[in-house]
Symmetry: C2
Amino acid sequence: MTQATPRRGRRPGAPDTRAAILAAARELFAAQGYAGTSVRSIGAAAGVDGSLVHHYFGTKDDLFLAALELPVDPREMLADVVALGPDGAGERMLRVFLAVWDDPELRLPLLGLARNMLEPSGHRLLTEGFLPAILQPIGVALGVDRPEVRMPLLATQVVGLILMRYLLEVDPIASMPAEDVVAVFAPTIQRYLTGPLP
Amino acid sequence: MTQATPRRGRRPGAPDTRAAILAAARELFAAQGYAGTSVRSIGAAAGVDGSLVHHYFGTKDDLFLAALELPVDPREMLADVVALGPDGAGERMLRVFLAVWDDPELRLPLLGLARNMLEPSGHRLLTEGFLPAILQPIGVALGVDRPEVRMPLLATQVVGLILMRYLLEVDPIASMPAEDVVAVFAPTIQRYLTGPLP
DNA sequence: AGCACAATTCAACACATGGTGAATAACGCG
DNA sequence: CGCGTTATTCACCATGTGTTGAATTGTGCT
């Protein structure tokens, strides 16, 4: 019985190997974080050698950034949150966040992003990306007073909720229906948006 | 010029090397997390060889657990939170949390704990330690209804606040006076304790 | 048919890691 | 003084890492 499959060269089995590698990278980065995921393991999960990963995506850092890329602009999704003014904006915002995190196409990149929040790279993405580039403009567009205080306040609740619901998956937060999540947390967020400040 | 310092054997310079190693471990684990900290770097920070770290504390995991050990029982500090019943318990609890995190002796172990929240080991410490062993009993002792729902709700806000204030150090949350933190977040926490549930 | 090119694997390098074991120097106690 | 014990470093080992480069095979174009 001869070895039918060649040991080197092209193996035209997979339809699009590049996409498979990227998907595997998303999966593993989301599940185990950047440091906890090796290039070789990504290759293995995609059924190819680790070198091929490097061949397609360059360095591990490059691959990480590619895996984090969102297929849509998050600001666009929050456009109609802003449109209707600050009344009820807390609830609308919360609904968008939940919808985004429940979108299977967005979930893995977001998980990869969030799971690396505590490492320096992800730390920067949060403090230089999410907060000033997304949250802060929303506050300004809503016309609330002192958005530079209110939006970080709001962020504490949103980040904590995301963390417990999607990353740590702590019950009963993780298994709570979206409607209940909105019912519980919308008042809090609304209070940070329009309530009293010290 | 002869080499005065011996190259092997005892170097009685440091008064208590063991304590220095533990302190360095706390510092580095808190700043860079478990995976990001090497045994050798801990040794270097304490001015000794990496082997000595292993000699004193055993495996890296053992050292990590030793570095996380709190010098007091956190339940004890929360005793008088429970004593006065659920009215105003949100504010009292928040004050205890802030006091604990502002205690320089407790801060490093807590940071080390929190920074590893997202890795499997720290994940277990949160979901099997903090939540059921500390928060849940408080809810029960306070006599609130459905503590298994209310305490995780409360945890989302506490965790998010801790994260932004002490780990990510996002302004203005990080630089806010404790009194203002209480003023802003106590109503939220109180609402999760005694407010309406869906 | 022939040839460039893309896809893929293998072998290897340089490096960092956690851990082990032996060697050596100083201390404390008799 | 002598001796055991402790503190400490050094030299390795096995392993896993990211990355590189060469080798090989298939595809598609002319």
